[in-house]
């Protein structure tokens, strides 16, 4: 009887969801450093949570992966820090405890922290490293190990975050197509010499206010850029490349104002750094969004103002790469099961355009087919990937 009651209690407080997805990417063109045309990847993601008491909840998420293009480690040990060059085969995506008492909420452990209001680029979203390994133009978020305390009183929220362990964004592999090498470097053997990870902790705070006709935030971050700069060392066998992550301080703000015909969202941040060789700059986004019946439209401009340029070209910076762009997204919900989406980023010398059709079959299955078309010159951030246009098909079973 006691065991049955305990099991019932567990069932009521336990929640889980997940999916298994197989995705195939087809690249019509080969790249100088990658002759593969087809990449297949499979991902099993399982999220679970357990509400131990009304004020304490445990959340966890694990990923299990495999792929055909050596983008995933072949070692089946559980990776907990998510710092490997390749994706771990088996990783702890989230493991956190959430405590809630009155106006305070604290989350401790590996978790996802998202800041910002814009949808097409988020300059203030600094606790959200990404996985760019299999596509620079379509990425997933990585969790961070942090302590986050939120105080919410009426329409005001204060969010304080301390991240003791640095989690870098995962960048494309040097010997694969999403590392676009300049033409003069082609044919030279390039070796990955690892990374110098910063040892210090990172912290930040954000204040958010909800007004009757607007919502606004101001934020501060002090830590490191999760996107790397590189040092290149020439040696007898080629060039060794090492990643490092410069200091970064951010002062940011965002604002959303719903107007009668559309909503204006804007977000901006000014980045400074004390690391030699790092730039100082501002990124900003202004976007308009509107839903008309089953259509949703988001369009805007992402800009960049460089206040101090170090002239260091050896960096991987998709956030800045998508700046100085006109960005747009449109989606159409055909019915309860089917949708269409279009997305574009257009710079002066490069562009990426995506189209995607998605359809659910029954309660568990979904198929998504898409085309990503990249054009431009090799000197442009987007244009350098002009050989990487691809078609994709993903089959997902959700449970």
């Amino acid at each position: 009887m006691t065991a049955a009651l305990f099991a019932l209690m567990l069932a009521q407080n336990f929640d889980q969801r997940g999916f298994i997805e197989d995705q195939t990417l087809v690249y019509p063109q080969i790249a100088p450093n990658d002759s593969g045309n087809i990449v297949n990847q499979i991902l099993l993601r399982w999220d679970a949570s357990y509400q131990l008491t009304p004020w304490l909840k445990f959340s966890g998420s694990i990923d299990a992966r495999a792929d055909s293009h050596e983008q995933t480690e072949r070692v089946w040990s559980l990776d907990v820090d998510d710092r490997s060059i390749k994706r771990p085969a088996f990783s702890l995506r989230r493991a956190s405890a959430t405590l809630h008492k009155g106006k305070f909420t604290a989350e401790l452990g590996r978790q996802f922290i998202r800041w910002g209001k814009a949808d097409i680029l988020n300059p203030t979203d600094r606790f959200a490293p990404k996985d760019y390994l299999s596509s620079v133009v379509s990425s997933d978020f990585l969790g961070v190990v942090a302590a986050r305390v939120t105080y919410e009183s009426g329409s005001n929220t204060i969010d304080v975050v301390w991240q003791p362990l640095f989690t870098p964004s995962r960048i494309p592999l040097l010997n694969q197509r999403w590392t676009a090498l300049p033409s003069e470097a082609q044919g030279i053997p390039i070796f990955d010499d690892g990374a110098r990870y910063p040892g210090g902790s990172q912290y930040g705070a954000r204040f958010n206010h909800i007004g009757a006709g607007y919502e606004a935030s101001a934020c501060f971050f002090d830590g490191y850029n999760n996107l790397p700069y590189f040092t290149a060392t020439e040696n007898i066998s080629g060039v060794s490349v090492q990643r490092y992550y410069p200091k970064l301080r951010l002062y940011g703000a965002d604002l959303a104002v719903p107007l009668p015909w559309f909503t204006v969202k804007t977000e901006g941040a000014y980045f400074t750094s004390t690391t030699p060789g790092a730039d100082e700059y501002a990124l900003y986004v202004i976007q308009l969004e509107r839903q008309v019946k089953e259509w949703s439209f988001v369009g805007g401009y992402a800009g960049e103002i460089v206040t101090h340029s170090s002239g260091n070209p050896l960096e991987f910076a998709p956030d800045r790469g998508f700046a100085r762009s006109f960005l747009g997204h449109a989606s159409w919900t055909l019915d309860a099961n089917r949708s269409l989406a279009f997305e574009a980023a257009v710079r002066l010398h490069g562009s990426v355009t995506k189209a995607e059709y998605s359809q659910a079959f029954g309660q568990h299955w979904r198929a998504t087919a898409g085309i990503t078309w990249i054009r431009g010159s090799e000197t442009d951030f987007l244009g350098q990937y002009h050989r990487n246009s691809y078609g994709s098909l993903a089959i997902r079973y959700s449970f």
Binding site: T150, P260, F262, R290, E294, H364
Partner: protein, 235 residues
């Protein structure tokens, strides 16, 4: 007493105030099963849990999808105001962020159902003008026009005379009939006559959503803290 009720009830505002008074509760919780039948008879089934604290115009509600698996965890927080349209935020686990639903977007269908975001609001009677149009078949037919921004220019409401329950709504925009909402299968629950089935017909799309209420409870001990943006993120 019946005569007295019928006499004062000829004023349409008083009829609607009586509807609200009889359905008032401090809190509510139910599990809803939705069947969406689209054009071409494509059927999708979804489930959500709904919790509300407070009542008309001063209530807060949190709605969480529990099925199908791909939308499980999607949640909507609705903060109703006595003098204006509600504030609404949606949480999607896949992006890990809440998104405010702008006022001009409230006519959009809510997550593939035939409910619009506005249909999920609870507006107070003071936000409308009313006109009594008819009185037959044991029901009052009342025209309702919103003072504040709404996708609907006006609506026709049918209220049963014997127990003051709303049984049907026809909602019109400038271009004509938009939605028909039928309330059926009434049961007395916690001393409140409650429709256990609500059917929403989207006229233009020729689709309909049927919502069935399970495990309906009123006046539960819910907490204000569970109806905030932080609660939405915790869900």
């Amino acid at each position: 007493m019946v005569v007295a009720a019928a006499a004062f009830a000829q004023d349409p505002r008083q009829i609607i105030e009586e509807v609200q008074r009889r359905s008032r509760s401090d809190s509510q919780r139910y599990e809803g099963t939705l069947e969406v039948v689209g054009a071409g008879n494509r059927i999708a089934t979804k489930r959500w849990t709904f919790e509300r604290i407070g009542s008309f115009g001063e209530s807060k509600a949190l709605l969480r999808f529990t099925a199908p698996a791909e939308v499980k965890g999607v949640a909507l927080l609705i903060v109703n105001h006595p003098d204006r349209a509600s504030d609404q935020w949606m949480w999607r686990p896949s992006i890990g962020r809440d998104q405010r639903i702008a006022l001009q977007d409230r006519s959009t269908r809510f997550f593939g159902t035939d409910f619009s975001f506005e249909d999920l609001e609870e507006r107070d009677v003071q936000q409308f003008n009313f006109k009594l149009l008819g009185d037959d078949n044991g029901q009052w037919k009342i025209e309702s026009r919103p003072h504040k921004a709404s996708q609907y220019t006006y609506s026709y409401l049918w209220v049963k005379k014997d127990n003051y329950t709303m049984v049907k709504v026809e909602a019109y925009s400038k271009s004509g009939l938009v939605r028909v909402i039928d309330y059926r299968d009434f049961e007395l629950s916690g001393n409140i006559w409650t429709a256990r089935t609500v059917e929403v017909n989207d006229i233009a799309r020729k689709s309909r959503t049927t919502l069935k209420y399970d495990k309906l409870e009123y006046n539960l001990p819910l907490k204000e803290d569970d109806f905030t943006l932080q609660a939405l993120r915790r869900s």
